[in-house]
Amino acid sequence: MSLTTIAIIGLITLVVLLFSNMPVGFVMGVLGFLGFSYVVNMHAGLNLLARDVFEMFSSHGLTIIPLFVFMGQIAFHCGISRRLYDSAYVLIGNRRGGLAMATVAACAGFSAISGSTNATAATMATVTIPEMKRYNYDMSLATGTVAAAGSLGILIPPSVIFIVYGILTQQSIGKLFAAGILPGILLSILFLLTIYLRVLKNPDLAPPGPKTSLREKIRSFLGVFETLLIFGLVMGGIFFGIFTPTEAAAAGAFLTLSLAVVRRQISWQGFLKSLADTTRISCMVMVIVTGAVIFGHFMAVTRLPYNLAQWVSTLPLPNSAIMGIIILVYLLGGCFMDALAMIMLTIPIFYPVAVALGFDPIWFGVVIVLITEMGVITPPVGVNVYVVYGVIEDVPLETIFKGVFPMLLALLVCNLILLIFPQIALFLPSLMR
């Protein structure tokens, strides 16, 4: 049997096992180990298994994950999300669609301290939807906005997806974080524009909220202060080369915890809950990354990714068409799979192709994060939609999916803009040392 045949059998088995409800990290680990052992030999496979697991678990790069997750969890449990929303609410809530716009702004703000889409969507749904319900907002617009804007969590740094992408492709995590900022702002603006246009067409969707005085507006800035401080410390530290990403994550987590303790916004139970959630989420990410590394070693010995990259680069198609096909695969895959799992599975195969075609690895990372953002809100496995549904309960799933659709168009437009103007993602990283 040729090496390519073995790799293809491995990939087919992987897809079959993935749909068997077996944890994605376990599937990749066991198939990677068995495949590597078959191609090389059992002894080498067994040695690879022990070394890969210890090396990944003790990798300094991966220690950034629990620290950033901890920062986000503390922020979640100490009510930063509520204060962010209150600020945005006071500033723009009195306009038509203002509360939905405030939701987008608060989600973007919370994404600056949280690296997960689910956490951002869950947090914001709890805070914002009751308020929009109170002002008779159309529930499809309200829930769709939270589900879609929650996806900003993986684009605006810190982002768990950027961290694992950086580790697997050996790209600078700091540069990836910087690359996510402008596209994150662009996407937030497109979300705001979508809401504005929808409300312009049908003003009944989102009646205006209460009026607020100038004094209240000025005071509301205080709610944004702590987020700016934490984001400034983390991103400023990385951007100006003061901290390594791991140090920035530790400093960010410590500052968030200190602010919460000093302001008495977190209880002992809240702290323990944050720690327990951090431990579970970090372990889940680490197991997937380790599984992907073992599977990646199997793919590497079959040389499939390199042969595929070579073959694709000789195809009589323009590079943009090939990138279009890759994007389509991510888009379809994202409908059925978790964003992190999807990226882990495909990076060993598509990354060499993208590099062989001459695309910038940092830009490619931003593009696939944007596409997987669509995956978290498209049926049937739109995780964020289920998260919002779980939090709200009395709004049917179809209503949320209906509300998400116009936001998907905004995501598509953002992707197109990024494909045409890669500089949007690459400008900030180019300024880094």
């Binding site: 944890p23 376990f26 680990g29 431990t279 970090s282 799992a341």
Partner: protein, 179 residues
């Protein structure tokens, strides 16, 4: 579920929970250690720039990098068993949910067996790897700390996951045979 199974289940849960909180403690220590190192580094910078002599005795913590790596290994590995109990690992349940309970049980028995095999191998080989490291006397660069206790730790943590998967296997077997 017989009393032996109940005992195994309770024992596994207790062990997994204890390991889970150890993992949590490792994360807090990682944060504190890194922050202390940053602070002490800042003190040294201030001493050099402004000549503040009272900062003289302060030095960055040697081997922070290594310690953080070791703590990372504890955090990731010790949390695996409890995360498995809590179904915290990402899995695609979309297709399996469409099947009747019994078929779901059969599929789960198969996937539990595969997972059990994987973690048995990880546990066994990690212990052998740790023995190798112990024999060769391999230590970390700065602190000269031996690697092997942490590799033993990974082996032990993988064995705990085996226990979780074993209890799941028996539970799903009952489901598969319609008990």
């Amino acid at each position: 579920m017989g009393w032996k199974m109940k005992f195994l289940d309770a024992l596994t849960r207790k062990l997994a929970k204890w390991m889970y909180w150890t993992a949590g403690l490792a994360i807090v220590l990682m944060m504190l250690l890194t922050c202390a190192d940053i602070f002490l580094r800042l003190c040294v910078t201030l001493l050099h720039h402004y000549g503040w002599k009272f900062l003289g005795p302060l030095r960055p913590i040697p081997g922070t990098y290594e310690l953080v790596c070791y703590l990372g290994a504890v955090a990731a590995s010790f949390a695996m068993a409890h995360t498995s109990i809590e179904n915290g690992h990402v899995a695609v349940s979309l297709v399996v949910r469409l099947f009747p309970q019994r078929v779901q049980g059969i599929i789960a028995v198969f996937t539990d067996s595969l997972g059990f095999y994987l973690f048995c191998m990880i546990s066994w080989r990690s212990i052998l790897y740790a023995e190798d490291l112990k024999r060769s006397g391999e230590v970390s660069l700065t602190l000269q700390l031996p690697y092997y206790p942490f590799v033993y730790g990974v082996g032990f943590a993988a064995a705990a996951v085996c226990l979780v998967l074993l209890t799941d296997f028996f539970k799903n077997l009952n489901k598969a045979i319609g008990k």
